[in-house]
């Protein structure tokens, strides 16, 4: 539910950006092309590629060729966007099941996790647009989306230094959600400051009393985001 909202919004953004890029690419006579900063084109290509990667990984059985080509293209774009920043070394093998050859499930989990770790590395570079939320779910253990958002003001405390892909993700995730739902004293004493880290309980504002229905809803939300980590059901 949450991710659908996010996804819809992102797709609109992507479309607009892609159309803009299209106009540049398709009309060589356009004066803007000569002056178009390469960074702008690279950036929207990057976003487009990330979106494609996201879609690809969401398939129950991704087209491996498509996936590999998109990832390689993403690497090229990233290399051109930040040539000074060396690509961080490939992280140690992700916490995936043992590499039993014949189980596509484990291979896919490993591939997904590896793509996620690739994107985590990419997130260290400044100015990157946020990656879609479900990918972030498959990062190293502990980085779950279980924590509901603190108030937006509190997020300022979470600096980019945490290097967490979820920093931006959290903010974007809850942009179009009424966060007053999560502002209640049940979760954290109002007097305490927020600890950095997304898995911590949110909310330090005064809140109206939470009734049963709201609590159920909140639990559904928390459980629902966990469910996103599980592989999707049948279908392509």
């Amino acid at each position: 539910m949450l991710s659908k909202g996010l996804k819809r919004k992102r797709e609109e953004e992507e479309e607009k950006e892609s159309l803009a890029v299209d106009a540049l690419w398709l009309d060589p006579g356009h004066a803007a092309v000569a002056q178009a900063p390469p960074a702008a084109a690279s950036s929207s290509l990057f976003d487009l590629s990330v979106l494609k990667l996201h879609h690809s990984l969401q398939q129950s059985e991704p087209d491996l060729r498509h996936l590999v080509l998109v990832v390689n293209t993403l690497r090229r774009i990233q290399a051109s966007m930040a040539p000074a920043a060396a690509l961080p070394p490939v992280p140690s093998p992700p916490a995936a099941p043992s590499m039993a050859d014949n189980l596509l499930a484990s291979s896919d989990a490993a591939l997904s996790a590896s793509m996620a770790s690739l994107l985590e590395d990419l997130s260290h570079i400044e100015g990157l647009s946020q990656a879609p939320q479900p990918l972030a779910d498959e990062g190293p253990p502990g980085r779950s989306m279980g924590g509901a958002a603190p108030s937006l003001g509190a997020l300022d405390l979470l600096g980019p230094a945490t290097g967490c892909l979820l920093d931006d993700g959290l903010e974007g995730l809850f942009e179009d959600i009424d966060t007053s739902m999560y502002d209640n004293e049940l979760w954290a004493p109002a007097s305490e400051g927020l600890k950095p880290g997304p898995e911590d309980e949110p909310g330090k504002e005064e809140a109206p009393e939470l009734d049963e229905a709201e609590l159920d809803y909140l639990m559904d939300v928390l459980v629902g985001t966990q469910a996103l980590e599980r592989p999707p059901g049948p279908g392509r």
């Binding site: 890029v21 059985e61 080509l69 090229r76 590499m99």
Partner: protein, 432 residues
């Protein structure tokens, strides 16, 4: 060229996904997205009907693959036929291999024009007779009946591919064949369905390191120990099965150095090879990537001997083609019987032919509007910029949903089959 022969379908399941002539050209098989195989047979020539020489009519239709559900991995396996390959004919029956993403099947197609009559224990409708009523015995005799063509699955080769099968190729020994998926190639014996031999495995120990996949594979037409496979990075590897059991180390490695002036973010994607085919002679291989067809001499690994531009006007459109995923389309390519002409498809229902000797090329269109029976195909031209002539079509008017991915060429005559989405066109040389 004349006489388009079409079968028109309306829905998605009828999208043709593979086309293949058999070794004599008498039969033409198509596979579609719905898992069906349709076989056409060429009519025998007759003196009475000169103008209908060599028409292809439907010979047999059968459901080769059904959609399956893999409960372990919770995913659906498409029934779409990815490839059909014929076996050479050895008796009255015809044999072909058809494959979807996971399972290869050997089908026997045979004719029945006689049936036994005069059974003792059952009557003409097949109902059992009461033995007590039988007083005499007779010998059943074979009597003629209307021709019936039946297709039966003789072998099912399953559970050997974790990834999606993209190619099958029958070996020249006629005893074995190979099937290739994104990361592995397996060798099968036709008689043995519960085992296959893995001959190529490019799966990295860490899937993180995966940067390249297998895109197509084919056996050499004469040397049963030799095969080639192509990759998503635009390389071709030739392997010799005598060298070692696991052909991870290639005998030859074909790669053209990248042209620095054409470098872009999309260089790798457009270099990805979508099809590889040996020439009939076995001396050359042809590869198709997004914008070109290349011919390679087996003795020269560092560059192709010929490069043909299929639709270079798309080079400036790569960004939007990436956005709408067209850049990932996989076009096939084919040789004619004498290896002098090569053919491949493009967009807007265009297909291209290149004469290797004269260096001339032509663009033709497969569409009902432009082709009436016995009409001659008119060459088409795409206008790149500037003033558009009367018959030309501009790049921006091209219909990218009308793609010709699959074509086939008769083994010895100038007859071609062109699949345009869910229509099949058959063109042949006009005879005076």
């Amino acid at each position: 060229m004349n006489y388009p022969d079409e079968n028109t379908y309306g829905n998605k399941a009828d999208i043709i996904s593979t086309v293949e002539f058999n070794h004599t050209g008498e039969l033409l098989a198509t596979g579609d997205k719905g898992g069906r195989v349709v076989i056409f047979q060429r009519e025998q020539e007759s003196k009475n009907q000169i103008h209908r020489r060599g028409e292809y009519n439907v010979y047999s239709t059968f459901q080769s693959h059904e959609p399956e559900f893999d409960y372990l991995k919770s995913l659906e396996i498409e029934e779409k036929i990815n490839k059909i390959r014929w076996l050479p004919q050895q008796n009255a029956a015809y044999f072909l291999l058809s494959t979807n993403d996971k399972t290869v099947k050997l089908w026997k197609v045979s004719e029945r024009d006689k049936r036994p009559e005069g059974y003792n224990l059952k009557d003409e409708e097949g109902r059992l007779r009461d033995p007590a009523t039988i007083t005499t015995l007779r010998v059943p005799v074979l009597r003629p009946m209307d021709l019936m063509v039946e297709a039966t699955p003789r072998r099912v080769f399953a559970n050997a591919h974790t990834y999606h099968i993209n190619s099958i190729s029958v070996n020249s020994d006629y005893e074995t064949y190979m099937s290739a998926d994104d990361l592995r190639i397996n060798l099968w014996n036709f008689e043995i369905t519960n085992q296959s031999f893995n001959i190529v495995d490019i799966k990295p120990a860490n899937m993180e390191e995966l940067t390249e996949v297998i895109t197509a594979a084919e056996f050499h037409p004469h040397h049963c120990n030799t095969f080639v496979y192509s990759s998503s990075k635009g390389t071709i590897r030739l392997c010799d099965m005598r060298a070692s059991a696991l052909c991870d180390r290639h005998t030859k490695f074909f790669e053209e150095p990248e042209d620095p002036s054409n470098r872009s973010f999309f260089s790798e994607i457009i270099s990805s090879i979508s099809d590889v085919k040996f020439s009939h002679s076995g001396r050359y291989i042809m590869t198709r990537d997004y914008l070109t067809v290349k011919v390679w001499d087996l003795n020269m690994e560092n560059r192709p001997i010929e490069t043909y531009q299929v639709h270079d006007y798309l080079r400036s459109k790569l960004c939007s083609l990436y956005e709408n995923d067209c850049i990932f389309d996989k076009f096939e390519c084919v040789w004619n019987g004498s290896d002098s002409v090569i053919m491949t498809g493009s967009y807007n229902n265009f297909f291209r032919m290149f004469d290797r000797n004269t260096k001339r090329d032509v663009t033709l269109e497969a569409s009902r509007e432009n082709s009436k029976p016995r009409a001659i195909l008119k060459p088409r031209k795409v206008c790149v910029g500037g003033k558009r002539r009367k018959d030309e079509i501009s790049v921006d008017s091209l219909d990218f949903s009308k793609k010709i991915l699959h074509t086939a060429w008769h083994p010895s005559e100038n007859i071609i089959a062109v699949a345009a989405t869910n229509n099949l066109y058959i063109f042949q040389d006009k005879v005076n």
